[in-house]
Symmetry: C2
Subunit: 362 residues, 2 copies
């Protein structure tokens, strides 16, 4: 089989150009005589790779100097713990907005470490929307407010121009599934983190962007790997970092720059998602599952309303080289994840297949 169109929610499709470069230099990167997988993390060759990756990311997101960038291991799951351990530093209170499964997991984990409440939730309608909040929704002495900016499973996202008004509280964002997909002001947040395996690279690296003043407040007996300051002070080199994943992330950053940066990527993502949502809205068979104004640009969820027909659609799509279209079990139906690297041809092929399927299954 040739390469398929892979609509997986993550790990997910990567830019072909990135994969081809990684393949070409897999045995001998940049004339070093070795694979990036074989490079000492203390070598100049690898230092150049991680420095370039950080510089490109700073450039793409316009990250101010008073924010540290870290390349860590452990995925979002470790961040669910690291955020409260490091950031519950004064009142030891934090307010979470629960917009789906990942926010819920983060919220539950944080309760181990302080006085943590759900300031808002969209659970009442199976997370089909982004709840509205006001400044009064949050405790005035909360150490931080936590949101998940894109909800992979339910298919909603936060409009970065309508973030919750937290006043001078610290806003923390899990951007795992829309990192570098939409323009955001880093300064709106105290801390941003993202697992790489959606828009950036292979699983195994998590990027953390944190304002300096938030670091250095972890309790004394914190497991050393869980203290942000350890990593920030050593440029992600306190211990051996996940070198290969960082290298691929770096190649992806360069690819995004070549596409015109995050503004251009966002414009493209909006157009691509619109084509797919229009196809859903114009169909008599398919229905979207979330409130239109909160629809994710990354994860388009839809159903036919008939579980057997959903199954048939997913199976026939797969046979046509359109794979990983099954929705998460908590939503059912279909989910097409169209991260940055999804080519237009993939979305167009999916739309054409949907129309053909609808005609054939009237």
């Amino acid at each position: 089989m040739d390469r398929v169109f892979n609509f997986s929610a993550g790990p997910s499709t990567l830019p072909l150009e990135v994969l081809e470069k990684a393949q070409a230099e897999l045995l001998n990167a940049n004339g070093s005589g070795m694979s990036v997988m074989e490079m000492s993390h203390r070598s100049q060759a690898f230092q150049d790779i991680i420095d370039q990756a950080e510089a490109d990311l700073r450039d793409l997101m316009n990250i101010p100097d008073n924010y540290k960038v870290m390349f860590l291991q452990g995925g979002g799951t470790l961040q669910f713990s690291m955020v409260p351990i490091n950031l519950l530093r004064n009142s030891r209170k934090a307010d979470y907005i629960v917009t789906g499964n990942w926010a819920k997991k983060a919220f539950e984990e944080a309760q181990k470490f302080g006085d943590v409440v759900a300031a808002a939730s969209s659970k009442d309608r199976n997370f089909a929307y982004i709840p509205k909040t006001t400044r009064e929704s949050f405790r005035p002495d909360a150490d931080y407010v936590y949101i998940t900016t894109n909800n992979t499973i339910y298919g909603t996202h936060w409009n970065y121009k309508a973030l919750p008004d937290v006043g001078d509280l610290t806003l923390v964002a899990d951007q795992s599934s829309n990192f570098l997909a939409e323009e955001c002001n880093v300064t709106d947040f105290g801390l941003i983190y993202a697992g790489a395996q959606k828009n950036v690279g292979p699983a195994g690296v998590t990027i953390v962007i944190a304002r300096e003043d938030l670091l250095g407040h972890a309790p004394e007996n914190t497991p050393i790997y869980l203290d942000y300051k350890i990593h920030a002070d050593k440029g992600s080199m306190y211990n051996t970092p996940p070198c290969w994943s960082i290298y691929i992330a770096g190649l992806t950053f360069q690819w995004i720059k070549k596409q015109g940066g995050v503004a251009a990527i966002e414009k493209h993502n909006i157009e691509q998602a619109k084509r797919l949502y229009d196809a859903i809205d114009n169909s008599k068979m398919f229905k979207g599952t979330v409130d239109p104004e909160d629809r994710s640009l990354m994860n388009c969820t839809f159903v036919t309303g008939d579980a057997d027909l959903d199954k048939k659609f997913i199976a026939e799509a797969k046979a046509n080289g359109l794979v990983n279209l099954a929705g998460h079990r908590s939503v059912g139906g279909m989910r097409a994840s169209i991260y940055n690297a999804m080519p237009d041809e993939g979305v167009d092929a999916l739309i054409a297949f949907m129309q053909k399927f609808e005609t054939e299954n009237k």
Copy 2:
């Protein structure tokens, strides 16, 4: 430059055959139509990869059914915390044998979590030997005794046939730098862990092998990623695992099987190390730095006794395609790391270069 002989202490050289296979299928693995980096960890394609990796590892090490195998993130550094957090379960005492830098770091980290003492140390002679212990060296109610089986920086290793007599106490081993390089009885240990980036694969995955009865005793407020039982119960799939690193580790396991398994690898490692140590011992210029009976099979440390001459050796070796031969700053001199994947040609080229250098610099 063509591929070099890479004597890095880790990340380090990988079998060329493994790299070539990874390169060949980088865009399309096993007819899946996608890279392993793009595979959903919930897909059958990836499940097959991790299952095969675990089965091959169990086969290679003869791991009994009552031991769980986990593929985790966070490196040895996270294990320094996870071991005491999970294993300090009764007396909350642990006894460490400090044979070098990594053992010392593990020992210091464990002190955060219980009553942890150094039962023995070889610090008095800059870690140039493995200290002798008796059953009486350990507290009778210690929850575990901890050793580092190979000391990357100092170039010593533990003879697996002369492990410390811990009676019925639980022995824990950091095998990061001699994992799958020497035959060991898994049942001599309660828990074994190893960062991949020496003998197994790229940085980013840590393998943990733990006896079942040791799991499930982490305190209630343990950060969820740090609880072994969470990972063991979910077959390393509680969260997204470092898929690519696991895939390369799996290819390396298959390569070791093709070499005849760990017994054959160990035999080869002994022969290879002997050739290099003989060259050191037969030279008038080079001297080994550790007690001969405790010499590592993986990391051969040696010096000329003249720091400038050491530097010249390292620089000229590099110019001859023999790279990463500088010793760690705490030992100085040279260190040739000759992990499983180092070909005979690499060691032979190093020996020939040492002889040439000695002749030229009499």
